[in-house]
């Protein structure tokens, strides 16, 4: 029983914590009014994680900081309801919050019952978590396996673990599941269809992967990429303020880089997507390029400074033997393509999104310009997948199975916006 209470407490505390600060500032900043409730939660997560990341370079323990945020948020909530006694929350939002609670709790209890740490978690991620949990700092990662792996996810895992009411490590990693569901709800909120609740439940189920919740960082990457996908949608359809967009975009990109090694490449892909598919002043594009270069340089410099190592999992320059031998090249191509197809079927949101977009384009309910960023991101992502496996020194067949599915999973949130386009375009035909 105590474990059930501990899980419920984790849900309650994360829900209160992530209300801070934007939820209480909606009335002060008109820009926030264009965002839905789950967007606000996402913005808060980005804001808080950025602060936690900054603190990670100086402090090994941020429990006090998180606790302070929690209490400020809790007090602000009381004040908010005190001054807004007659506030009317619309029925749809209330039902969405209820559904969100149900789905998050389903995820939480699934992790609680089957808390097994999967392969990579035991092999390298959990070492870092243990270090941070025991108040170790970044420099102490040097003595552990794979010190150059980004530490953000494990740092947060250890911090939430310290704050949980039972000493069980899985309570610290419930936040992965919380944030990915927040991002799904944020993207799908604009759907007008009466099938909204069924659709959102189905998508949460399709994206749920108990293996990836076993200590992997995939859902952290998923959250940041989905968030950027949502920002692109807001920029295109709601014309949100450019400075606001750039600020959140750069913060999300920065966090993405500190989440997983491929984050650097995903950030480059998202940058290219923005540059080539959005009409904006050259000044903005140059500015974003300069900031991105700074963020990436800082990542390498700080990694070297603290962890004494700035390498990738595999050396960037290697023998490239798969390109030199034609037979290996062709065999690899077929194997990657086959597994890519299998992974797309296993994580079907990407393929369903692609079909929906094709349908909209073919029936001329949507113009190409509205979704060119999704198509470019998809193309670059597929190129990246082939590049990763061609580049790797390991035989393709030995790494395809465990890696490809997770690569598909972490980007699948970017395409969820297709459901918004599809259901809103067909809303008038619903009876």
């Amino acid at each position: 029983m105590i474990e059930i209470l501990a899980v419920l407490f984790s849900f309650f505390s994360l829900s209160i914590l992530f209300l801070f600060p934007s939820f209480f500032l909606v009335n002060k900043f008109s820009i926030l009014k264009k965002l839905n409730f789950f967007d606000l939660l996402s913005v808060n997560i980005i804001f808080q994680f950025t602060i936690y990341l900054l603190f990670s370079f100086f402090y090994s323990n941020i429990s006090t900081l998180i606790t302070n945020f929690f209490f400020i948020s809790l007090i602000s909530l009381f004040i908010f309801f005190y001054y807004n006694k007659n506030i009317k929350i619309n029925k749809r939002l209330l039902l969405s919050i209820l559904l969100f609670t149900i789905i998050v709790l389903c995820n939480f209890f699934s992790i609680a019952n089957n808390f097994k740490l999967q392969w990579d978690a035991v092999a390298h991620w959990f070492w870092k978590t243990q270090n941070f949990y025991q108040n170790g700092d970044l420099t102490q990662l040097r003595n552990l396996p794979y010190p150059f792996y980004p530490h953000l996810g494990t740092y947060l895992w250890a911090s939430f673990w310290k704050l949980s009411i039972l000493n069980h490590e899985y309570l610290g990693r419930l936040y992965y599941s919380y944030i990915y569901i927040v991002s799904i709800f944020a993207v799908l909120q604009p759907i007008k269809s009466k099938y909204f609740f069924i659709l959102i439940s189905s998508l949460c189920y399709l994206i749920f992967d108990s293996y990836a919740l076993g200590g992997y960082q995939e859902y952290l990457v998923f959250f940041f990429i989905t968030f950027v996908g949502r920002l692109f949608f807001l920029l295109k359809e709601k014309k949100i303020n450019n400075i606001f967009f750039l600020l959140l975009f750069l913060l999300a990109i920065n966090l993405l880089i500190w989440s997983k090694q491929e984050g650097v490449i995903y950030s480059a892909i998202l940058f290219l997507t923005y540059i080539f598919t959005f009409r904006t002043e050259l000044k903005n594009k140059v500015l974003i390029f300069l900031f991105l270069s700074l963020i990436v340089s800082l990542y390498f410099y700080l990694n070297f400074l603290f962890k004494g190592n700035l390498f990738f999992h595999e050396p960037i320059i290697n023998s490239f033997y798969k390109f030199k031998n034609f037979k290996i090249f062709i065999n690899s191509f077929f194997l990657i393509s086959l597994h890519l197809f299998k992974s797309l079927v296993q994580h079907p949101t990407t393929i369903i999104s692609a079909l929906l977009l094709l349908l909209l384009l073919s029936t001329k309910k949507l113009n190409f310009a509205s979704i060119n960023h999704i198509l470019l991101f998809f193309a670059l992502n597929i190129i990246l997948i082939y590049a990763i496996f061609y580049h790797s020194q390991f035989p393709v067949e030995s790494i395809l199975g465990p890696v490809l599915g997770r690569l598909i999973l972490q980007t699948s949130g970017f395409y969820l916006v297709s459901f918004v386009y599809f259901f809103n375009a067909n809303y008038q035909y619903e009876k």
């Binding site: 389903c106 209890f109 019952n113 808390f115 097994k116 392969w119 270090n131």
Partner: protein, 136 residues
């Protein structure tokens, strides 16, 4: 609310409840109520099987957690699962090693063991499957 809308509302509710079952919520809650964390830990990671959490715990408690010892898993699991008992305040004792899931009937295991660990003595033996060994 029109009858059609009402029916659709109930359909929504039914489908959402169905998802609770799809996510296995009742069974997860039942297991949490019935089996405590320690028991689930052994069932998930095993005593001297899988990641062998139980055997690692036994060895580390023998040294009161004051030493880090690497492990080597013969089965298809991460080679070292010592991370469960890693203590950052202590050094790794490179003279000791915990062997997990050794199968004396497996020729490959025997060959590998003789090749790599012949200059070790056995300090603790659990059913000829999990050992604590030390360099001679």
């Amino acid at each position: 609310m029109r009858i059609k809308d009402k029916n659709f509302f109930y359909l929504n509710i039914i489908i959402i409840i169905a998802f609770v079952f799809v996510f296995d919520l009742p069974r997860n809650l039942y297991n949490l109520l019935l089996h405590n964390y320690v028991n689930r830990n052994y069932s998930i990671y095993g005593f001297c099987e899988k990641e062998s959490y139980g055997y690692l715990e036994k060895i580390h408690s023998k040294y009161n957690g004051k030493v880090n010892i690497n492990s080597y898993n013969f089965e298809d699991y991460p080679k070292s699962s010592s991370v469960f008992f890693y203590n950052k305040n202590h050094e790794f004792d490179n003279n000791k090693l915990i062997i997990l899931n050794y199968d004396s009937d497996n020729l490959n295991h025997r060959k590998f063991f003789l090749e790599k660990f012949s200059k070790y003595k056995i300090l603790d033996n659990y059913k000829n499957k999990c050992f604590l060994i030390e360099k001679l």
